[in-house]
Symmetry: C2
Subunit: 119 residues, 2 copies
């Protein structure tokens, strides 16, 4: 089994690839907000994705804004994202089931407590 940390990192990579495929002109801050990590963290994963050749820097279209980049998925980036999708989905479905069980057991607990108060 791969480590918890590796999985979280993979999740983040996947989320970033997904968001960028949809809109390559998102800023680092927007990405950070959307995936739920810090700006520093996003900067780091973007570098990693560029390093791996999954994302390349393009020009920001609107008015050639020199401050910012467009983060464009390369063909390999697109392939990578597709490959990650299933594993990600499986992981999220497991989380979903776990959460479902936890919620149910909490509700049982609350109900039991409510009854006790009545008696």
């Amino acid at each position: 089994m791969t480590s918890k940390r590796t999985k979280l990192q993979e999740d983040t990579h996947f989320r970033v690839l997904r968001l960028l495929q949809e809109n390559p002109e998102m800023s680092q801050r927007e990405l950070a907000e959307a995936v739920g990590v810090s700006v520093g963290g996003i900067h780091y994963v973007l570098n990693a994705l560029i390093e791996k050749g999954l994302v390349k820097l393009g020009n920001f279209t609107a008015a050639e804004d020199k401050r910012r980049y467009a983060y464009v998925l390369t063909p390999r980036g697109i392939a990578r994202k597709v490959a990650l999708t299933r594993a990600f989905l499986v992981r999220k479905m497991e989380e979903y089931e776990g959460l479902k069980e936890e919620i149910e057991s909490l509700q049982v607990e609350l109900d039991a407590n409510a009854e006790k108060k009545l008696s």
Copy 2:
């Protein structure tokens, strides 16, 4: 809105209180495993709970094992746990809904991709 970190900490406190109410003789390692944080982290929250008077150290029953403690909820600890339950449940239900949406959108994406391959 309280910070993300505060919420996670509150979640951990709640989980620990819940587990200890059910079984006060869990070891720090067992707790760590069950709530998904490190042993160091559990040690830290246990100290915090004891400091707040929500948990007190009791004797481990079986054969008076001097190495270990029983972590017993005080009345205030029980009250605190009840108070945290609803907030925790609400948070988990929100997470549940979020996860549900994410999973659905992923499935749509995979289906679209599958169709494209066929054509």
